[in-house]
Amino acid sequence: MENARRTQAVLTARRAGLVGCTGCGKVHAAGDTVCRRCGASLQSRDAKSLQRVWAWLAAGMVAYIPANIYPMLLTTNFGKTQENTIVGGAIELFLHGSWGVALIVFAASVLIPIGKFIAIGYLALSARSKVVIRGHGRQHLYEVVEFIGRWSMIDVFVVAILSALVRFDFAATVNPGIAAVSFALSVAFTMISAQNFDPRTLWDAYEEDDT
């Protein structure tokens, strides 16, 4: 963290009595509410941003529960219907020997969502504390959460393609289960939660520390 030493010399827009646009970087006088360049709404620090982060995160976690309890995929073979949950599907792939794909499915639908809940919760908690925590570490964590979150949607697409393709009437049919809906909702809610997080708050602790 060699950069951490230099942060004390940093002048931020807020400290200078100005407002920076998060969309395009343009700097405005403190009273302005709409960016003159890109038209985005301006806010030095959004006081309610953390509330929205928690609310969407909670919604995402709630939706993740039925996503794991109920079946994601209904496979019918000669009249026999087999129900597969998210984890069940990954285990089945693993037993069939497709370890690589099993790993992708398991990572996208279990590891990433749960890791995201923990990461967003940690970032939201740490943004409140005035203690200086490694800014770069949290910054990287935030970037990873923003980047990787949407990839969880892959499981919903797999279900969509399988149900569209495997339709051999009596012999074999695949139908989507209710869990697909709640899983898609869970991914969307946590994406909104992460988007509402203001990464500038991660750096504010430095300023309050050296004033």
Partner: protein, 212 residues
């Protein structure tokens, strides 16, 4: 500095969108990359001819999207039976009963939003690539394109197709159709285009061209 700072003075500054650190705007030569000195976020990374390339790649991807939607996507053969599906077929997989909203969402994420984003980028940047003044409402349209970015999931869909192909590989023979290759090419072109796009540079150029 107070609230009465003249605009010209403010225009010489740029605030990092990620950490709020103030920087003086300097000329960044094409190919170079200006990073925030506190958090390391890329502020500006102009490339020579970026506008032209972005517009051309976006238009290419939009045409490929049309092909990807209408041509057969995948064919499945098992025991003398065969079944074809287009991309729309995958969207309509959820169209039965109360899962309808998910069908709408999937359609938006893999077709409508990526396509709308490509059109929006072409609309906002094409006049500038030609050296003209920006089109009417170009700022608003480009802001929409940026807002759509996380929700346009074409590249995730194509990986989902790969996973699905492995899943059924043991039971049936899967043959990719022309739409599959169009979609794969579309994803590559989109990724290439996003590499050329530098948000802050585009906003700066939009503003300068609007004034001139």
């Amino acid at each position: 500095m107070t609230a009465t700072t003249p605009e010209s003075q403010l225009d010489a500054l740029i605030a990092c969108p990620t950490c709020d650190a103030l920087h003086h705007v300097t000329v960044v030569i094409p190919g170079a990359r200006a990073r925030c000195h506190r958090c390391g976020t890329t502020l500006m990374a102009p490339r020579t001819g970026a506008m032209t390339r972005i517009v051309m790649l976006a238009a290419t991807a939009a045409i490929l999207m049309v092909a990807a939607v209408f041509f057969p996507f995948l064919e499945l053969q098992a025991g003398g039976l065969s079944r074809q599906s287009s991309v729309l077929g995958a969207v309509l997989a959820f169209s039965e009963g109360w899962m309808m909203p998910l069908a709408v969402a999937v359609g938006a994420m893999i077709v409508a939003l990526p396509f709308a984003r490509l059109l929006a980028i072409t609309y906002a940047l094409a006049p500038m690539a030609l050296g003209w003044r920006p089109a009417a409402q170009a700022e608003r349209v480009f802001r929409w394109a940026e807002a759509m970015r996380p929700w346009a999931m074409a590249e995730i869909f194509i990986l989902g197709v790969a996973v699905a192909m492995v899943k059924v590989a043991g039971l049936a023979k899967v043959t990719p159709g022309p739409a599959f290759w169009a979609f794969a090419a579309l994803v590559l072109v989109t990724v290439l285009k996003d590499n050329f796009m530098c948000r802050l540079t585009i906003w700066k150029t939009l503003e300068e061209r609007r004034r001139s």
